[in-house]
Amino acid sequence: MVSRIEVALKTGVDDPTGSSVKRRILEDLKINSVSSVRTACAYTIEANLSEEEVKKVAQEIFTDAVTSHVSINAPCISEGFEFAVEVGFKPGVTDNVGGTAKEAIEDCLGKKISGGVYTSRIYFLHGKVKWEDVERIAREMLANELIERWNIMGSQGYAKAIAQIPKVHLAQNVQVQNISLELDDGKLIALSKSRLLALSLEEMKKIRTHFAEEKMRREREKQGLAGMPTDAELEMLAQTWSEHCKHKIFNAQIEYEENGKKETINSLFKTYVVATTKKAGKGKDWLLSVFSDNAGIIKFNNEWNLAIKVETHNTPSALDPYGGALTGILGVNRDVMGAGMGAKPIFNTDVLCFAPFEYAGMVPPKLLHPKRTLEGVRRGIERGGNASGIPTINGAVVFEPRFLGKPLVYCGTCGIMPAKINGKETHKKLAKKGDRIFMVGGRVGKDGIHGATFSSVGLDEASPTSAVQLGDAIVQKKAMDFLLEARDKGMYNAITDDGAGGLASSVGEMCQDTGGCVMHLERCPLKYPGLAPWEILVSESQERMTVAVPKEKAGEFAALAALYEVEATDLGEFTDSGYFVAKYKGKPVTMLEMEFLHKGVPQMKLEAKWEERWKEKESEHKMPQLGEALVRLLGRPNICSKEYIVRQYDHEVMGMSVLKPLCGEKNDGPSDAGIIAPVEGSEEGVAISNGICPRYSDVDAYWMAANAIDEAVRNLVASGVDVESIAGLDNFCWCDPIYTKENPDGKYRLAQLVRANRALFEVCTEYGIPLISGKDSMKNDYKHGNIAISIPPTLLFSAIGKVKDRKKTVSSDFKEEGDVVYVLGKTYNECAKSEYFEEYEIKGGRVPKVNAKENLKLYKCLAGAIEKGIVRSAHDCSDGGLGVAIAECCIGGRVGVRVDLEKVPCESNLADDRILFSESSGRFVVSVKEKDCAKFEKEMKGCEIGKIGNVRKDEAFEVKETGEQGAIYTKVSVLVSAWQKTMKW
């Protein structure tokens, strides 16, 4: 039996959701015929309930006595609209609200209900709207067809509509298939493609050889397995050997050619990333666990450790921006919870790259308009952080046209854990032979099987959508609360998260501790029946953790889970058999040799060739009026205020916030870093910042990487962090760097990757910054017919550092009239790909170089001055250069300034537009009290600094020129409005 409850707002109660939908229809879709929008929710309950029960449920759960109007099995609104659009999920998509509603109904009725509860939203559109426009509104705004279905009804049709249930029906004959690899090369590749294994010919052959070995055959025969892999084994190998899990490109042997010189690089990861930490990490006893766990672990102080990880979730976010970003956040939270013995997340940081939101061109098939992507991703991050109670304290948004092909969504999380629990160090963990394998959290469905495959073709009402997953922050929050108590009570030996590759990866990796496992897949709780064993094994359903629980604690562990209303299932045990064994109803479906599983993947061999492509000669241009240029730059998407986004993230929950993302007189100025004080009563803080500048990779990926690192470091230094305490996280997002006929630019892209890695090594070792965790996503390309878009190679460098005294942190806003303004660091003519050149469409120019040695000297001096408490404000110069940095300090402080360009340290004969807008690295704008100037200058001795002017009380913004180009004389309010209007949504 199906009952349907619809909840609408009473007439007369405003509907802000409806109003904002109406506004977006007008602004984003340019449809002006909708005069009003009202919204309602529908709950379709699949259960045998009496009329009284449905009434009780409607009354007690779904009614807000003050505002809502509820109808049972009848339309909730009968007039005042021309169209009703109902949007609900497709079968198999996680329905979070439906899940909560089911719990609430069971609570209310005091009994379990057998079926599901399915939610949908109804939008009532009023106005003379055309049917085609309603269709556009549904498709381009209200629903995402990958995961949602919609139904457009006229007012008559809506009155008669019948409830639909998006239930998953799967064939129930679950079988295990053996797959012969005795095929010719062409067929092997075809098999890899058709099963979406993403295994190369060489890898397929290696698997074939392995299974054909005599010893292997005999061992398998004993267990009743054929001399060829089962579907589950092949799928598991494909997962374990995937680029995602094994980083094959970063571990490849590369023949690299630069200027005719050839060299062989055996693994970028070892040669540059690991080597950086080896060199820069010398003597740093605070490095506890690097590269080996789900997150890097460092010491915060003697009592506490921090775990930090930054990941990408690009492809899922391209398809379903909301769901993709949400699962990205929840996924990286789990990484931290699965690091060491488990750290509690204390902040998130997110960096996003999109195409410009004002994009007016054609949107290629299967892609979304960048504004829609931005809005969806923003909502996903809002939900992921806010609902989990984790503050989002820092981030960045970058706009560049090529991110239309693939947006980048970097999600980072830092967690905290006691250094020791019950006398044991928490950054170590080890599953023991005989430990039970527990799966904790969500249930398993077809979600994210073959996470990399996103063809929605062939999806119909009966088949669940496997491509896109939707996270459930509350299921995860409950699981985390539970696991933290279990951790503190010493109930488990090891923990890891279920992410890419599902159980195959999590158990597969953890059982390396003991040398094998036996798992019973039929015990796995499913979202709906009918999953094949291989699907259970590799499903990427969300909110799950894998935990190794000593046998004698298994009962206690399960009982505690029940109290937290968290599912914890004993799937089997860790063994030392040397095999990864998974069974289904008693019969083995995998028996994979551990050694082969983890070390069998052959090393890739790749070619890279660097060539100078950039032309430094500048295109002809005339210097613009500088005041006007400043105003134009402030409004550019990469520079403008991101308050619209930041304010919708809870950046203060947990009450640890020291330096907020928004600062200044009106709490709306930009902060350079995020700082929190995670330990009650301690003066110490932890700071996070990010550096990213993809546009420079058009010039040279080396300087792209170097500038990203420097930007992150500058941000921390400006906020009061000593370079000595900084650790770095590298996240590479590239376009396909493997040369093939179809990808002729592969060698160049790989050379870009090599150069970026060199920069990583050279700059980090100069600064003394060890790398503690990283990630790569190598195939951010879009191809459809003859449209091809590849992202610019992008390194996100995240820097985490320690603050000794939270009272000595510095914000970017100018504080008070009379304070003296300094520029630190030297300005060069480095405007290639700068915001200034982009705005005025000037080609060519030189890219900013990073002189790490010089910079480091300056950073140390600045840290010393901050330590002495004499720096009133500090802001790093990045996009838009010095001009924008000074303007931002004024905007934050709502005070004016008078500065003289003559005093800015710079290369000789530099024109005023370059002094103002060049993006040279290693520079800051700092303000100091007049009386502290001498002290400050003493601290900065030996560094390039310029005393350029003063903060003023009125709102005059005055820049004195060096030559005849004309000064800037404007008002801060003009700058505020230019800076804020771009994203005032």
Binding site: V13, D14, P16, T17, S19, S20, E60, I61, F62, D64, A65, V66, T67, N96, V97, G99, T100, A101, E103, A104, D107, C108, G110, N386, A387, S388, G389, D472, A473, I474, K477, K478, D481, L563, Y564, E565, R647, Q648, D650, H651, E652, V653, M654, G655, M656, S657, V658, K660, L662, C663, E665, N667, A677, E680, R806, K807, V810, K815, E816, R872
Partner: protein, 266 residues
Amino acid sequence: MAKGKPKILVLAGFGLNCERETAIAFNEAGGDAKIVHFYQLQTRKEKMEEYSAFVIPGGWSFGDDIAGGKVLANRIRYRIWDQMREFVQAEKPIVGICNGFQMLVKLGILPNLGGDGQQEVTLVGNASGKFEDRWITLAPEKKSKCAYAKGIDFIRAPVRHGEGRFIAKDGKLLEKLEEEGLVVFRYSHWDGERKENESVGYPKNPNGAHKDIAGICDVSGRIFGMMPHPECSIFEWQHPKVRKGEAHTKGSRKFFENIVREAAKD
């Protein structure tokens, strides 16, 4: 006090998430706060009656699915109602912040002017249509009967919600709330000033609450709820403008001290 510090129960679980800072705020105010998970009350491992105040902190219980605080309210009603009722009858302080406020309102015990436990007011989606994290100022209502607002000049604290717009069932009820002194805090100008019968407007009133109402109490004055988060403005370093020497912690501290003092009467 002879008995020592009053025991304050800070509820946790099912998506509540401000328990840590809320407990710290109460401890700073001289209370003995303990974070108790819902299951501990349900299984009677922890007994509500052994505490002198019951605090439901902010968060996203059950993801705010259906409506903020609604599912948690039902869970209390169906699973631990006996303890809760007793606590209410004993007139011990019950305080809801943000999600806790939403919950108390939906449970019908706040403001409960009718005395029948029916929901009379609500908190709906912000007029801006957005969740917002924003620092605001609260002015205490002079004629409020709630002891928790005594002696407070103003409170400066962040709001962090998407459903905080206060609405009463009807105009009459709203009038009665004001008459009987059940309105405790209103959004004000930054310095704590406000003119009677004149809204401070958005964004000072961050959600479009009727009459700028941010916090109310029940008829007994013992049950109280508010949308903003004073537990995040206890220490100077938590304040956004501390670097300009502007950090008003006095109001928030006084608020928690008042509750602890009232709890100590138990």
